[in-house]
């Protein structure tokens, strides 16, 4: 595992850039654990200070130090993205493995449901969730709702791999040796699927973070929890660009775009490492 990582860093420029970007942002988010200020409090600093020696990222119109504020925001956003990715990974692995190995009517039923989930536009439905739950909509509930919609593409990808594994010699041997289907799927097939799971995790994080920010910018999440989206919401709400506090919008936008580029490069280079042909599937992953 470590050797693979070292080789990727050394020989794959895309992977190296992606890893550096993501690491820097994770460290930045980690700094929030040592923050001297409470991110939920307002008017702790002089409002509207441009970036400088005292306030590295400036302060916003709500009197918050943007450096620590963003550090909290990125921690929450990263945790959110990871939560969605992990939960939806579990669903996609279960569905993908079962559909691929079992075949027959199990496969048909699961893929039928899969097709339905691919086609439902989830954005209006997520807004409905906000409409119903309002301020009770915390990060975890939203993550759970998004995870329920974020699995179908990846389940299909996993299924296509397991379809190939099913006819391999070792699967047949495992069956003759009396292994239960459950055991074959988890112990024999899952290791082959894991690399894809890692690669799709990044793509799924980009998707979920992007969606969360979109919802938050419109004010459709709990705006009192600092995330990248709510930071942009407040900036927009205080007309940051009009009054000239450009750093309030520009800095989070730059960092989130760097995060997206980093995750995207990681996903792409991992995909190419696993299977050169997967470049074809890049837009579907």
């Amino acid at each position: 595992m470590f050797a693979v990582f070292r080789d990727l860093i050394r020989y794959n420029v895309e992977f190296a850039i992606g890893a550096v970007l993501v690491t820097v942002i994770v460290i930045f988010a980690g700094l929030s654990f040592f923050s001297p200020v409470d991110p939920t409090q307002i008017y702790l600093a002089i409002p509207d200070q441009p970036p400088g020696a005292q306030y590295w990222f400036g302060t916003n119109s709500r009197g918050q130090d943007m450096f620590w504020q963003l550090s909290f925001a990125f921690r929450n956003t990263l945790i959110f993205g990871l939560t969605v990715a992990l939960i939806s990974r579990v669903i996609s692995i279960v569905v993908g493995l079962a559909a691929g190995y079992m075949g027959g009517w199990v496969d048909r039923v699961l893929m039928f449901i899969n097709d339905i989930f691919v086609a439902i536009p989830i954005f209006p439905i997520l807004i409905l969730f906000y409409f119903v739950l309002r301020s009770n909509l915390n990060g975890f509930t939203l993550a759970l709702a998004m995870a329920c919609f974020g699995w179908p593409y990846d389940a299909r990808l996993i299924r296509s791999v397991t379809l190939g594994l099913r006819h391999r010699e070792f699967t047949r041997q495992a069956v003759f040796a009396g292994m239960s289907p459950m055991k074959i799927m988890l112990e024999e097939h899952l290791p082959y699927v894991m690399p894809i799971v890692f690669a799709t995790t990044m793509a799924n994080m980009i998707w979920s973070i992007g969606l969360e920010v979109t919802l938050a910018v419109l004010g459709f999440t709990n705006i009192n929890i600092p995330t990248v989206g709510t930071t942009l919401y407040w900036a927009n709400n205080h007309s940051a660009m009009v009054v000239g506090t450009w750093w309030w919008i520009l800095i989070p936008v730059i960092i989130v775009v760097l995060l997206f580029i980093g995750l995207f490069l990681l996903a792409v280079s991992l995909n190419e490492y696993i299977d050169p042909r997967s470049r074809l599937r890049r837009m579907g992953a």
Partner: protein
Amino acid sequence: MKAYFFFALKRLIQLICVIFAGCSIAFFVSHLSPISPVESIIGRVSGQSSYSPEAIENLRAALTEMFGLDVPLHEQYFNFLRRLAVGDFGPSLLAFPRPAIELVMLALPWTFGLLTVSTLLTWLIGNVAGGLAGYYQNSRLLKALGILAIAIQPIPYYIVAFMMVIIFGFFWPVLPISGGFAMNVRQAWTPEFVLSVLHYAILPAASLTIVGIGTWFLGMRALVSNIVTEDYVTFAELGGVKRNRIVFSYVMRNAMVPQLTSLAMTLGAIFSGTIITEQVFSYPGLGSLLVTAVNRGDSATTLAVSCIAVIAVASAIFIIDLLHPLVDPRVRAE
């Protein structure tokens, strides 16, 4: 022909299931709400003038029946499905007592136009440029475009939209940044109105297009660079077939098939992109209607927009699926 008929029938059944499932999810989510539309109308009415308790009680009974809330949840659900078939979502709260579907129908053409134009533009430009970049791999210009595409591709729609508003709103105000058409133009099928609509659509469409092109560019480039290594391309080159002909009829045509499938799959994402774009540019489409309805607590309109969105996107995917066999002979045989 018979195979195509069965293929279309299968897709049609799937379409109905998607619409059924999507609308059902929307219905049950919206009925978790503790806010009753009846009470909010009564609150609004009785806040404006004083009514006798009997009048309020009569109004409550009438409204409960109007919204179909006087029966248990499972019956409400069946009623909802029955009304969905005829496009009835009950009265909206925004413009009570106008039906919610009327508001949706007013907003739908705007979103539909914006979505169609930006999707087609994005898809065409991205695929042609990506195809050329995949074939002429040594071109400096196309290489630079590739790097640009990688950088732009992960940027979300709203950021580009914000940037557009900032640039064209404050630094270089040459294009309208808000609304669907000029205030002084009457809404009718006159050339003046159409031009105004197009003029106002430039920025929203551009912000949707810029983000999308990157994805198609990268996908197409990867597809084409795989295809150019195939034998038939080499034979064509050796045989002296014109380069343009090789690129467009031999290479791109074969790469089109997976790109058409992805078009269907990304349509839902483009739709959520238009919602936020409309909000940023105050464009009078479904997105703006949805946001207003949510902020005013209008459950009927919110549910109507969600269901129409599901139906619209699912139908678009259905149409793309039907076109699929015309491009790809392998699907016809399936």
